[in-house]
Amino acid sequence: MASDFTQQIREKARELLEDGTVECVIGYETGSDGISARPAFIYNAADVERLVFDNTCTHNLVKYLLNKKAKSTAVVVKGCDSRALNLLLSERQIERDKAFVVGVVCPGIVESRWNERSEQLQKRCDWCRQHTPVVSDFMVGDPVTEQPPADFADVAEEEAKTAEERAAFWQQQAERCIRCYACRQACPGCYCTDCFAESLDPEWVGIRIAPAESQMWNTIRAFHLAGRCISCNECERVCPVNLPLSLLNRKLEQKVLELFDYRAGMSEDAPAPLITFKKDEKLGIAE
């Protein structure tokens, strides 16, 4: 099946490059360990054979579209990636007419480890309710019926603790954070050229490496993604010290679903919950 996906992607890529629809196709190729895929940028039809698609294609290529100078580009997107695409379209970071979207019905992505095969599905795939891309100009694979809502067992588990335990838990996490900002770089929702975290005036996050500052960073990072996070779990996957970052996003995702019946990136025009409102909604504050 995967190989057949690869074929379809290659053919489409060739066609797009030959008839000049796009000047670059962003897809996946086999990495240097000969196992796990890495992003590939194809400019000539001759090179399309490099393209592959399999269950190691973990990267969200949508982020490469953020370069506004680029001309028309084709990009291969999985279900979750497509939600990121919608998010960025709605926030006007990508010009739709310059992007040709090759949607791939995602088979599920495995944990990629250097130089070894893994059949272990990634965490995000357990949560995933969107294997079929929500936006695409060309679809590879047949749309699948999606699973019922993911339950938020992980969140519930954390909430079972006392406030004191939770405080302590996040305190420990904060102590381990080295503020390398890998989470930010990997996140499709984090694209600001100047991040609040590096602003010296106002100094929201002090430059000293201290738990309080890291706590501040992690909290606001999560909150800036409230109602925007497409739960791809990249932040957590790339974290060098394995902080449970998604847990924060998941908590907010759950609440956003409950209060606003909203899932980020499902459509290009549904406004994110924090930039809209209903006059007579009950949200459990000041009532």
Binding site: A168, A212, Q215, T219, I220, K251, P273
Partner: protein, 136 residues
């Protein structure tokens, strides 16, 4: 956290309703505990969640945001946006160990001086009972 065991409460009051409400509490001599420190903001919609998180990170024991009643916002819609942001923020804070009780949002009109005093009194008592924040 403030040295004295008395809890430190930071209040953000919208200029048009709640700040005026607090003034009314003054003119009608409605007494309340002195723990609260009041910042004037144009609108509850101006209160940045980052600011609230910062308050807690820096050791405040509690935060109060007060704005116009829904429908009465001087800027028509400010408190509606605020309401959504705060609803989510409070969940996140609680999830991270800052008990939801410590972050309060209230709608106080310019005429509700006595009510403002009562809110602050109850809030302060509750916070004193809970004691200072653990951790950080």
């Amino acid at each position: 956290m403030s040295e004295n065991s008395a809890p430190l409460i930071i209040g953000f009051l919208c200029n048009w309703c709640s700040y005026a409400g607090a003034d009314m509490a003054g003119t009608s001599r409605a007494a309340y505990p002195s723990n609260i420190r009041i910042l004037r903001v144009p609108c509850s919609g101006r209160v940045d969640p980052m600011m609230i998180v910062k308050c807690f990170q820096e050791g405040a024991d509690a935060v109060l945001v007060a704005g116009c009643h829904p429908g009465d916002c001087h800027y028509n819609e400010g408190n509606y946006y605020g309401r959504r942001r705060f609803a989510l923020l409070r969940e996140l804070l609680d999830f991270m160990g800052v008990e939801r009780e410590r972050f309060r949002v209230e709608w106080v009109s310019a005429s509700e001086g006595k009510r403002f005093a009562k809110i602050v009194t109850d809030f302060t008592n509750e916070m004193t009972k809970m004691g200072p924040r653990k951790a950080s």
